[in-house]
Amino acid sequence: MTHIASPVTPLDVTRAPEGGEVGPVRSGWRLGLREFARNRLAVAGLGVLVFFVLFCFGGPFVYHANVLGTNLAATNLPPGPGHPLGTDNLGFDELGLLMKGGQAALEIGFLAAAIGIVIGAIWGAVSGLAGGIADSIMMRVVDVFLSIPFLFIVLIVAVRYGASVLGLSLIIGVFTWLVPARLVRGEVLTLRVREFVSAARAAGSGRLRLIYRHLIPNALGVITVNVTFNIADAILAVATLGFLGFGLHYPKVDWGDMLSNGTAYLQDGYWWLIYPVGACIVLVVMACNLLGDALRDSLDVRLRRW
């Protein structure tokens, strides 16, 4: 009798699946975190971000450099002994400037994104829950502000009020809350028809409690993803403002301002004034974007591999 190779493997009855045991409870966040950890690029992005936070805020404790006193005898030195990344046109050490500028960039990035997300989440949640004419009006306001080109209005306000970390954060934050508001409203519209909202209402919770105890925690996935992209956008916006000359000035340091100074020496070939700063901006923004993408993928239940 010829042996017919069957495409279907015969059922091995000696290895029946075990039953009866209940595994550890895996909450939604744990599962999302596991998906996130599987994505190597995302972990790399997180690592880069952590590295930059340590580098910018912890670096000055280890590496003491001259970033405040002009030293005209040591201007525009190429990288060498004592100055790993050279000096700029006023004698400040480039590596020290990178750290200090990074502090400002990260602070403004996080603060602007935080302001944006807080205002946006509350606006969106209230609008989504209210419904009807209040919802229409609130969303029309968002649309009106979205029609104003972001860079122009931020530049106009920054010229007058923007020479400090808090000022820049407020200006950027006040124009970043629009997209989170729309997203949170969309989420709330899908969430408010769920049973847990009806249950909470039946238990007597008022609308405020509904928002902060039920709706916003359940919309946290969308919010978190949006925050990471907002951080990236805020850092780019600060760099652009600094490059155009409307960011932070001496004695504070701003990466965009450093690039703008370096542009004057493009023809002289002083590459250390331009490329390290640019690379830092690109790395931080890329890390935030990678993080945002990975968070979005890991929180999307349909993409999970069990």
Binding site: R140, V141, D143, V144, F145, S147, I148, P149, F150, L151, F152, I153, L155, I156, V157, V159, R160, A232, L236, A239, T240, F243, L244, G245, F246, G256, L259, T263, L266, Q267, W271, I274, G278, I281, V282, V285, M286, N289
Partner: protein, 315 residues
């Protein structure tokens, strides 16, 4: 469909009205009056107040706003006290060059992004796709001016192939024919726009490839080339229509930075100079024009999508 168009246009007009109020009030708060510009920095308070009274800058904000709207509807965009010309004349000199730079970059970007997205979807997860995705990702994370600086350093200073400054000519035709000075800004701007579009195009093309009608076309024996040309391209272009309409504000902002770095005498450079000199009439007019273009862009994108996609019309 017949009820949709008037409603949509009506919504746009209402938003236009709202936007103009917001911008006017914001700018009025920051720059209340150009008296100091006209009278000089040492003018005393009495003459400032008298000038304001004479030119209507001490009226309530609402009255000033209504007067400004009236002025706009008669085609008068304001008068720049710093440059001593009417704002309309300043825009007239410069808008063609700005439109050329933005328009040609957008055109090239669309012509590159659509085939690139289709290529990435068809050959997904191969080396080509990964290289394109990585490049797009890095370019997207790069601040615009950094890309311009790298391009100037590499292609204009180290290897003097192109000019490091954009064409300074006042005639658009000369600018169009200038192959030595214009390629750098145009190519860089194109790359930046493509980096933004490529992700959407890729995912749109992948979504279309997963559809049943592609399977049917292949099952019927249609050559792959025709499957792509006849079915994929048309359906994958639909998100592009929305993207183009929505990228007007990004285009304006992009041209602002590009014109500043390459010293291209367009509207963006005018805005940047006015920021430095606090020429608020120009700032106000430019921001309003930008907002009008944004709203118009959204409107055109919505209408174009409704025209192009029968599924939206019939729903």
């Amino acid at each position: 469909m017949t009820g949709y168009l008037p409603r949509r246009v009506g919504t746009s007009l209402v938003m236009l009205f709202g936007v103009s109020i917001c911008i006017f009030f914001l700018l009025h708060t920051i720059y209340p009056s150009p008296a100091i510009d006209v009278l000089g920095p040492k003018a005393n308070r009495v003459s400032i107040v008298a000038w304001n009274k004479q030119h209507g800058f001490d009226d309530p904000v609402i009255v000033q706003y209504l007067r400004y709207v009236n002025q706009l509807l008669h085609g008068n965009l304001g008068y720049s006290y710093k440059l001593n010309q009417s704002v309309a004349a300043l825009f007239q000199q410069r808008w063609a060059r700005s439109a050329y730079l933005s328009g040609i970059s957008l055109l090239f970007a669309v012509l590159i992004a659509i085939p690139l997205g289709i290529f990435q979807a068809v050959r997904r997860n191969t080396v080509g796709d990964n290289v394109a995705t990585t490049l797009a990702f890095v370019t997207y994370a790069m601040p615009d001016f950094f890309l311009y600086l790298i391009a100037i350093q590499l292609l204009a200073l180290t290897f003097p192939i192109f000019g490091f400054e954009a064409s300074q000519s006042t005639s658009v035709l000369t600018v169009m024919a200038d192959w030595r000075d214009m390629p750098l800004p145009i190519v860089c701007l194109t790359l930046l726009i493509v980096a933004g579009y490529s992700r959407y195009m890729r995912s749109a093309a992948m979504d279309v490839l997963a559809q049943d009608y592609i399977k049917v076309a292949r099952a019927k024996g249609l050559p792959e080339r025709l499957v792509l040309l006849r079915h994929l391209v048309r359906n994958a272009c639909l998100p592009m229509v929305t993207l183009i309409g929505l990228s007007i504000p990004a285009l304006l902002a992009g041209s602002l930075i590009a014109e500043t770095v390459f010293n291209y005498p367009g509207l963006g450079l005018l805005f940047y100079d006015s920021l430095g000199t606090a020429d608020y009439q120009v700032l106000l007019a430019y921001t309003l024009v930008g907002a009008v273009l944004t709203i118009a862009g959204n409107l055109v994108a919505d209408i174009a999508l409704t025209v192009a996609d029968p599924r939206i019309r019939l729903s």
